[in-house]
């Protein structure tokens, strides 16, 4: 699978992010993030304190600079995530560049209009070499289309009127032929427009979990504000005086600035990761939801098995030489161009090196006989077909189907395969077993999904016996056999009644209701407009196994959030040990004993904690953008691991970091 280049820091992106970090200092923008807004207010207060307080201007200035840096780092993280998103949508934007369109008027006359002037319902004509001006549905013609602008895939695809491959996307180019397209999107509301807006964060809304976390973080900020504000009057009891820069420094160190600064970036990065996997989420919520999915509905064909059935074994009848069966079947399949026929020829050719029999007359498959084969020049008739058809052929020829062959055919059917009986004139030579071939590594992928806690349901048009056999081989939890769209919808509704979140992938118009009903519907880009409208994500690569990646991206997004929140809160312990003794050491000298890190001086201690607090933001930007690695090991093991790394690590790391920074800071004159 082709991936967008994932270099973390492109110089051009860094420059843009740097510029944006200053623009984002506007209070209206900052107010969206209560934690960092508090930090900015603190920075303003300290800056005022430099001028107003007669005391130590140097100290106040340094604290104020570090506070502003903290805010800027936070903005930088968000701006960088947005810049990365923009880079990914760059090619999309070129595609969105103004186009001219040939609109077909009601009287069939053609008029040239601006692409922006098109409204849903308009009919446009697009010929080879032209760019499709808007999202729509082909109503006439067939064309090959270059969709590389949105999918990155250079091979052209064929789109035609009617059926499940009729939708076209604005910005893609027609390579051959001419089509009429019925416009379905409002100007500015096209698929591309929505995709660009989402990735670039212009329309970013907080997802439900992000909102809940923001509330918790705001609550913590409020609590620490209370702790800090109460400290001043408490200090008065001891005749101690705390100045504004110190109190603000304490507050900013305590409030969860790390996660507050990175929260937005984590969310945007999640969408970016989805886009890198060629998945376009219609909202950030869809990505978050993906992590919660309990049940996935997967189509059998193309997802679990390799396309069509293939020959997997030959079963000669008793007394028939294997070589004879292979020879016959090879000859009988000569003119058979169906995938099954080809697979028989390939398998038989592999096993036998018998020279091809002299070419005879090909008897193609017909609905009446339901047999296909070859009539050799000497009059020998070779046939292969389903058991009942073969039996009729034999009877008409005066032969009979041996009991052993019938048994062998039945046992193939019981295994979920399709038996083809091979006949040479009046003799049944044996059975060819056609069966579904599982995709390589599919069982391992399913095991991975199951460890993630997902239920996998296979959807197939096969009969229940065949379906059960494949389901068992692939290791899925359940299957829907002889599935109709109504049945799929009913299954989804049943799962949802039990409280499960269902994800499914689909492409056809008849999938639309199920896609809409599913909590997470992923439509293939090659699918119909109706399917794409009903889904909450579109897979540009139209890869049916993509659901697995969707779920992992969702989980990764949530985990990154949780891990960094825990890290951020755990950091506070060390900061307390640095700052609290420093605050009161003048009034209560005995508190020096709490300075377990043996920091240079009270001021150096406060400043070091503050600098650590600021530096940890850019240090964690790569983690926020890449995401915490997800391992499908079950919730308990994941929790244990993340607690160890981000909880315990979060307690220990700042002790080391603050001490190191202090060693440098205490070298400065005045600290």
């Amino acid at each position: 699978m082709q991936r967008a280049p994932s270099r973390l820091f492109e110089p051009s992106q860094l420059r843009a992010a740097l510029r944006d970090s200053f623009v984002m200092l506007s209070p209206r923008r900052m107010a969206r993030n209560p934690v960092m807004f508090t930090c900015e207010i603190g920075a303003v207060l300290t800056t005022i304190a430099i001028v107003l307080s007669p005391g130590d201007r140097l100290y106040a200035s340094v604290v104020s600079v570090v506070l502003w840096l903290t805010v800027l780092f936070a903005n930088f993280a968000e701006a960088l995530a947005e810049a990365r998103g923009r880079a990914q949508t760059k090619s999309l934007r070129t595609a969105r560049a103004k186009t001219r369109a040939r609109r077909v008027r009601d009287d069939d006359a053609i008029e040239e209009v601006d692409g922006d002037a098109l409204r849903p319902g308009d009919l446009v004509r697009v010929a080879a070499g032209e760019t499709i001006p808007a999202d729509g549905e082909i109503v006439r013609g067939v064309a090959s289309i270059d969709e590389s602008a949105i999918t990155g895939e250079s091979a052209p695809v064929v789109r035609e009127a009617g059926g499940d491959r009729s939708s076209v996307t604005g910005g893609t180019r027609v390579l051959s032929d001419e089509i009429d397209v019925r416009v379905t999107a409002e100007p500015g509301g096209s698929f591309l427009d929505r995709m660009i807006a989402l990735v670039e964060g212009a329309k970013r809304q907080k997802t439900p979990n992000e909102l809940a976390l923001t509330i918790l973080l705001s609550g913590l900020t409020l609590a620490f504000l209370l702790v800090t504000v109460c400290l001043e009057p408490m200090a008065r009891y001891f005749d101690a005086h705390l100045d504004v820069p110190t109190l603000v420094a304490l507050l900013v160190c305590l409030i969860p600035t790390t996660i507050g600064a990175l929260l937005a970036a984590i969310g945007i990065a999640g969408m970016d990761r989805a886009l890198a996997a060629k998945l376009v989420a219609k909202s950030g919520r869809a990505v978050e939801l993906a992590g919660d999915v309990d049940t996935v509905l997967l189509d059998k064909t193309g997802t679990i098995t390799k396309g069509n059935r293939q020959a997997t074994a030959f079963h000669p009848a008793p007394g028939v030489a294997r070589e004879l069966l292979l020879e016959t079947v090879l000859a009988a399949s000569e003119g058979d161009d169906t995938p099954e026929g080809r697979s028989i020829a390939i398998l038989a050719g592999k096993e036998s090196d018998a020279p091809a029999m002299s070419a005879g007359t090909v008897v193609p498959f017909s609905a009446r006989t339901r047999l296909s084969g070859v009539d050799l020049p000497d009059g020998t008739r070779l046939r292969k077909g389903a058991i009942d058809a073969a039996e009729r052929f034999l009877r008409e020829a005066g032969g009979e189907l041996p009991e052993a062959v019938r048994k062998s055919a039945h046992s193939v059917a019981e295994r979920g395969g399709t038996p083809l009986v091979v006949v040479r004139d009046t003799r049944a030579l044996g059975v060819v077993e056609l069966s579904d071939v599982l995709k390589d590594g599919i069982a391992e992928r399913f095991a991975r999904l199951r460890r993630m806690g997902l239920r996998i349901v296979m959807v197939t048009g096969d009969n229940p016996i065949t379906a059960a056999f494949i389901a068992k081989a692939a290791g899925v939890d359940d299957f829907i056999a002889e599935a109709t769209p109504e049945e799929k919808l009913a299954y989804i509704e049943r799962e949802q009644r039990d409280g499960r979140l269902v994800a499914m992938m689909g492409d056809g118009t008849n999938d639309a209701p199920a896609l809409a009903q599913a909590d997470l519907g992923v439509a293939m880009n090659s699918g119909t407009q109706a399917a794409k409208e009903a889904a909450n994500m579109v897979d540009l690569e139209s890869d049916p196994t993509k659901l697995i990646e969707v779920v992992e991206i969702g989980k990764q997004l949530l985990m990154t959030r949780g891990a960094l929140t825990t890290f951020s809160i755990a950091n506070d312990v060390a900061k307390y040990f640095a700052i609290v003794p420093a605050l009161f050491v003048a009034a209560l000298p005995e508190l020096a004993a709490l300075d377990v890190m043996d920091l240079g001086s009270p001021r150096s201690a406060i400043l070091s904690a503050l600098i650590f607090n600021a530096l940890v933001i850019p240090a964690l930007v790569p983690l926020a953008l890449r995401g915490v690695q997800y391992r499908p090991v079950g919730a308990n093991a994941l929790l244990r691991r993340n607690l160890l790394v981000y909880g315990l690590g979060g307690v220990v790391a700042p002790f080391v970091g603050i001490k190191l920074i202090d060693l440098v800071v205490s070298l400065l004159p005045g600290f």
């Binding site: 408490m234 949780g562 919730a635």
Partner: protein, 554 residues
């Protein structure tokens, strides 16, 4: 050493006893249609199926009535019957404080029991409220559990019937257990009489009036219901309230019994016994983390006598020697962890770090905690831990199969903000002004600790005190009176609203990707979250008070 082993054996015994008590609580709160129900049908009318609003309204109506009656009794006890010693009425502010204190299950006393209360006040103001306030707390826990399990009647969610819950808890659990404990106390030598004070002529010929009364009955419910309000001023250090090591063990066990049983009740009613085990283990881990150092610190000699020519031994100041070396400090942890507030040693005289541990129990208020409400408080921490741990395993968080979302987090965050607001805010104002600074009996960190302790005791509905603080002032009475109410009702209303919300949500089945809340890892994370959050919010105040004092004693 033997004393230490004995008290921890007592802890184990109480934990074992809490399991059958939980069965009793379950019978009281989770069965219908028994004979008591038939009696209550006649007395209270048919069973109601209250929604969140209805349940809370019933709670407030009931508690407001209790408060009003108590205030009237305290203020006018001088002219009411059952007053053989002719004790006068309380001033209005003290009556307000005292009524608030007993209605909220706090039992913070700004008066001295035996000389300030008539028998009617002791029975109607104190004893009656000790039953009903405890039952109110347990009823609310039952409502919480019903909310979480999504209890429905006729298809509509319900939290139960508050008045019936209270009545059933009193009849099924509190009365029988109190009877057993009171009998044990009487056997141990505690007085039980309605006669006036005993009058004795001393050897010097002067006349001594020895206060007494229905002590055993009141002490029994005082301990069982995490009330803690003493019959006598010195509480359970008084030889009539707590005559011997035997009664000390009975009472210490009674302090922990129902708070422990409430955890099992939560597990029974939510049908999650595994979760209850993990919560119980987490609480016990916290309790041991507090009580083991506390007993050891108090066994070390007082640093003030270090180097002096006296025998080195345990810190004996403020201890009752008839209970041995370990009971006083163990009791101090038990009584502050559970919001009981009765004392068997003077907390003011504890070593500073033991004082800090006692403060810690009140800051957290969830180590077993008050009857009913302790488990409700722990539920808030569980929600918080679930939210963090849930996202860390890559799912939007869920608890007991229901999604924890923005609304629940708003309520939980508000509830978690309340203790620092009351404790730190109150302490800041009182420490910085003469309201508090002039009432302390010590300068420096210890005086600060006295203020901090009083605020914490009120906010956590504990009721113990760092005696020595001159707390019977109008300011102290009004502020702590109000703090007790806020500290009582908001931490009931907010969690019940969370449970109500959760109960209405669709139940999500568990998969291997679901965060399990009945595992060791989650228990450890819960303990960590409780400690971390408590430390972060209260560390600066703790450093200024007990820690500074400890370092100063050096």
């Amino acid at each position: 050493m033997t004393d230490t082993l004995l008290v921890f054996a007592l802890l184990a015994l109480t934990a074992a006893l809490s399991i059958p008590v939980a069965v009793l609580l379950g019978r009281a709160l989770d069965t219908t249609g028994d004979r008591l129900d038939a009696v209550l049908d006649r007395a209270l009318g048919p069973r109601r199926f209250q929604d969140l609003r209805g349940y809370l309204v019933a709670l407030f109506l009931f508690n407001a009535t209790l408060f009003a009656v108590a205030w009237l009794v305290f203020a006018f006890q001088g002219s009411l019957p059952l007053n053989p010693d002719a004790i006068g009425g309380m001033p209005p502010d003290l009556a307000f404080h005292t009524a608030s204190s007993f209605t909220t299950n706090t039992n913070l006393q700004h008066y001295s029991g035996e000389v300030a209360l008539s028998y009617l006040s002791q029975i109607l103001g104190v004893g009656w409220l000790q039953f009903t306030s405890a039952a109110s707390g347990i009823a609310c826990l039952a409502a919480l559990a019903r909310g979480l399990r999504g209890e429905r009647h006729d298809g509509r969610l319900t939290l139960g019937d508050f008045n019936r819950d209270v009545a059933r808890v009193v009849v099924f659990v509190l009365l029988p257990l109190s009877l057993v404990v009171a009998l044990l106390l009487i056997v141990g030598g505690t007085p039980m009489t309605l006669e006036g004070a005993a009058v004795a002529e001393t050897l010097e010929g002067s006349v001594q009036r020895i206060a007494r009364g229905p002590v055993a009955a009141i002490v029994a419910i005082k301990q069982l219901g995490t009330n803690g309000g003493g019959y006598f001023g010195p509480n359970s250090t008084h030889p009539f309230e707590n005559p011997s090591l035997f009664t000390a063990f009975v009472e210490a066990s009674a302090i922990l019994l129902i708070p422990m049983a409430c955890v099992w009740l939560f597990g029974r009613m939510t049908r999650r016994p595994g979760d209850a085990r993990v919560i119980f283990a987490a609480m016990t881990a916290l309790f041991l983390l507090f009580s083991i150092p506390a007993t050891q610190i108090e066994l070390a000699p007082n640093p003030a006598v270090a180097g002096l020519d006296v025998a080195a031994g345990p810190n004996l100041e403020g201890k009752e020697l008839r209970f041995g070396d370990a009971v006083g400090s163990f009791w101090a942890v038990a009584t502050t962890s559970t919001s009981n507030g009765s004392v068997a040693a003077m907390h003011d005289s504890l070593q500073p770090l033991t004082g800090l541990i006692a403060l810690g129990g009140m800051f957290l208020s969830c180590i077993y905690g008050g009857v009913g409400v302790g488990m409700i408080n722990m539920f808030l921490y569980v929600i918080l831990a679930v939210f963090l741990a849930g996202t860390m395993v890559g799912r939007t968080p869920e608890y007991l199969g229901r999604k924890v979302e923005a609304r629940e987090m708003t309520l939980a965050t508000l509830a978690l903000l309340l203790p620092p607001l009351l404790i730190l805010g109150g302490t800041a104002v009182f420490a910085a002004t003469d309201l508090g600074a002039s009432t302390t009996s010590n300068p420096g960190p210890h005086g600060f600790s006295q203020i901090l302790y009083e605020m914490s005791s009120a906010a956590a509905n504990n009721g113990s005190g760092f005696e020595g603080l001159g707390d019977d002032t109008v300011a102290w009475n009004l502020v702590t009176g109000l703090w007790m109410m806020l500290g009582r009702y908001l931490p009931i209303v907010l969690p019940l609203a969370i449970a109500w919300n959760l109960g209405g949500k669709r139940l999500v089945p568990e998969t291997s990707g679901t965060l399990r809340t009945n595992t060791f890892v989650f228990g450890a994370f819960l303990v960590g979250s409780v400690l971390l959050l408590g430390a972060l919010l209260f560390l600066p105040a703790a450093v200024l008070g007990p820690v500074a004092e400890h370092l100063r004693l050096g």
